[in-house]
């Protein structure tokens, strides 16, 4: 069984400060981390590999300026990693779906695609369903856990206030929630070997130019960034007055607007 894991990176939010009044973003420390949900997808793939024999292939969720994410995936336990080059950096999901479908075809197909349910910065959750549509595969979104057996995958997903187990025949696309699994760490010695180009693991990182996968016209981004906007400056110390019931109603309304969905 071959599992394709699609991984991306995100600028560590602890290194940035957004100044709403100035309308500027200050990057104090430019440090990238693996997208938390993608990290869970990698962990899910490695758990399946541990339980049953499977080949785990890491692919990037967008075009990246370096192969750090893929090196980390290899050092964590992936068997192969494909560094896609030659496309626009930070390309959108529509473009990447085309490229990834071609890359998976070049791999010789896959039985399961795992990726993060959402990105930490932009909150995008469309790559998994786009891949499912392009490949005409079923999709399971926002899974907490995944296991495979007898040509099918089982996943745990939210259902109302509880959880249900769902099953889907392979091949399929499954997206993992951030925090769904406790991810393992990359092994330091393996990382050193990859960066030094020593040993078998260094050979597991391949570089594929996008132009070999799709036509040049397919590398045109669909989404265009046209600027930034900043919310109004945070107003602190707003006092609620009235009876306990009145202030409670106003506070409940404010909480509902801000609760994570």
């Amino acid at each position: 069984m071959r599992i394709a894991v699609v991984l991306g990176r995100v600028l560590d939010p602890r290194g940035i400060v957004v100044n709403r009044r100035a309308g500027r973003i200050f990057i104090n420390r430019e440090e990238y981390i693996l997208q938390p949900a993608d990290r869970c997808a990698l962990e899910a793939a490695l758990r399946i590999k541990d339980a049953a024999s499977a080949e785990v292939v890491a692919l990037p969720r967008t075009f990246l300026p370096d192969d750090d994410v893929l090196c980390q995936a290899l050092a964590t336990g992936a068997d192969r990693a494909i560094y896609l080059t030659g496309g626009p950096l930070g390309a959108d999901e529509a473009l990447m779906a085309r490229v990834l479908v071609a890359a998976i075809a070049k791999l010789g197909g896959a039985d399961l695609i795992l990726t993060g349910a959402t990105t930490m910065d932009t909150g995008q959750s469309q790559l998994g369903p786009r891949l499912a549509e392009a490949l005409n595969w079923p999709q399971v979104l926002n899974a907490w856990a995944v296991e495979t057996a007898d040509g099918a995958a089982r996943a745990v997903v939210n259902a109302g206030a509880g959880y249900v187990q769902v099953e889907v025949d392979l091949p399929a696309v499954i997206t993992l929630l951030p925090g769904a699994l406790k991810p393992r760490y990359p092994r330091g010695t393996q990382l050193i070997n990859i960066y030094r180009g020593v040993g078998e693991i260094a050979q597991a990182l391949e570089q594929w130019p996008a132009a070999d996968l799709v036509e040049e016209a397919a590398l045109t981004p669909v989404v265009e960034r046209r600027g930034q906007d900043f919310p109004p400056e945070r107003e602190r110390g707003v006092r609620l007055t009235g009876s306990p019931e009145e202030v409670a109603r106003a506070a409940a309304e404010a909480l509902r607007k801000r609760l994570p969905r």
Partner: protein
């Protein structure tokens, strides 16, 4: 004075007629517990604003079993036309049956803009429709404007949970698919005199490819560390009744924590102390119940996105860092707050 003739006059004026030739702005309705979800009405309101500039009509699509009776609500919210796919096979949401109906409809109508709610249903369907039709998708849209020269929707999407917004557009791709964030757009005026005749949509059978096996009774989600919890309800010495704090945390789906006073009272363990010498938090919502807020505590919560503080002392330092302040005894406010959240 009998003013019933006014009703008749207005009803005649507001009879909706549809345009021929396809295009337009289409809103895919979310139905929750037998009612149209508020996000759908908000999306229709946003679509109406776009439609005014685009010179386009607004259509809504209802899918489900026994949902035909909801069509008048969509007209009242501002839809010029409503399509209804009312079939027992659509009783519970599944990707394949819903996708087949929408795909056939949109292939025939060739919409210029399609709007979904940024809900689980929209999250599952919008990318697949966009991919199938070669469209661009912008998710979690909280504001939109129109580039009239190119008839392109420019959408603001939150970055890092709303720290700032990127303005994005899909100028070349059609349809332009948008998933709008619930609560981001104002609810439209519901015009009771706005009426129309919904059209039925053919529903072809499509088998769901995901099988629900049953409740995952043995599954428990991994515990999120307090430092990463999205919602934290913390108690201080003035909280009074700690069980109310626990009830509020359960209602908000949050983690219980506290300051050193709560630890001294025996309500929390040392690992639950929010303090720069203990745990530093950065949740979406932080509720400080009866916490006075010393320097160590306030520094540990300064990265919280929203802080609600309840304390009887108007000079409590917690009010300097809180977004919303309630000067009252928590014992009086918490029962009302829990009741208000349950409504």
């Amino acid at each position: 004075m009998d003013a019933s003739f006014l009703d008749l006059l207005m009803a005649q004026q507001e009879e909706v007629t549809e345009a021929e030739g396809g295009g337009g702005i289409w809103v895919v309705a979310d139905v929750v517990n037998g009612a149209v979800a508020p996000v759908t009405l908000e999306a229709i309101g946003a679509a109406r604003n776009l439609a005014g500039s685009l010179g386009a009509y607004v259509y809504a699509v209802l899918l489900g079993d026994g949902v035909s009776g909801l069509a008048p609500t969509l007209y009242q919210a501002g839809a010029d036309g409503v399509r209804v796919a009312d079939d027992p096979s659509l009783a519970t949401f599944a990707v394949e049956p819903y996708l087949e109906v929408l795909s056939d409809l949109f292939q025939a109508e060739q919409p210029e803009v399609i709007i979904f709610g940024a809900t689980p249903q929209g999250q599952a369907l919008a990318p697949r429709i966009a991919q199938r039709m070669g469209g661009g998708l912008l998710e979690h849209v909280v504001a939109m404007t129109l580039d009239e020269a190119t008839r392109t929707v420019q959408a603001s999407v939150p970055i890092y949970g709303g720290e700032y917004y990127e303005i994005m557009a899909c100028p070349q791709a059609r349809p332009q698919v948008l998933a709008v964030e619930p609560g981001a757009f104002p609810a439209p005026f519901m015009d009771p005199y706005r009426k129309g005749e919904p059209k039925s949509v053919e529903v072809k059978p499509a088998e769901p490819r995901v099988r629900v096996l049953g409740p995952a009774e043995e599954f428990t989600p991994p515990a999120v560390p307090l430092s990463q919890a999205p919602v934290v309800v913390a108690a201080g010495r003035q909280a009074g009744d700690f069980s109310l704090v626990e009830q509020l945390a359960a209602r908000l789906g949050g983690r219980v924590a506290g300051d050193r006073g709560a630890r001294d009272a025996g309500w929390i363990s040392p690992e639950q102390i929010v303090d720069i010498r203990g745990v530093t938090v950065a949740p979406q919502v932080y509720v400080a119940v009866g916490i006075r807020g010393d320097t160590f505590h306030n520094a540990a919560v300064e990265n919280a996105h929203f802080i609600l503080a309840i304390h009887p002392d108007p000079t409590a330092p917690i009010f300097q860092v809180a977004d919303l302040c309630i000067e009252a005894d928590p014992k009086e406010v918490l029962p009302a707050l829990i009741a208000a959240l349950e409504q």
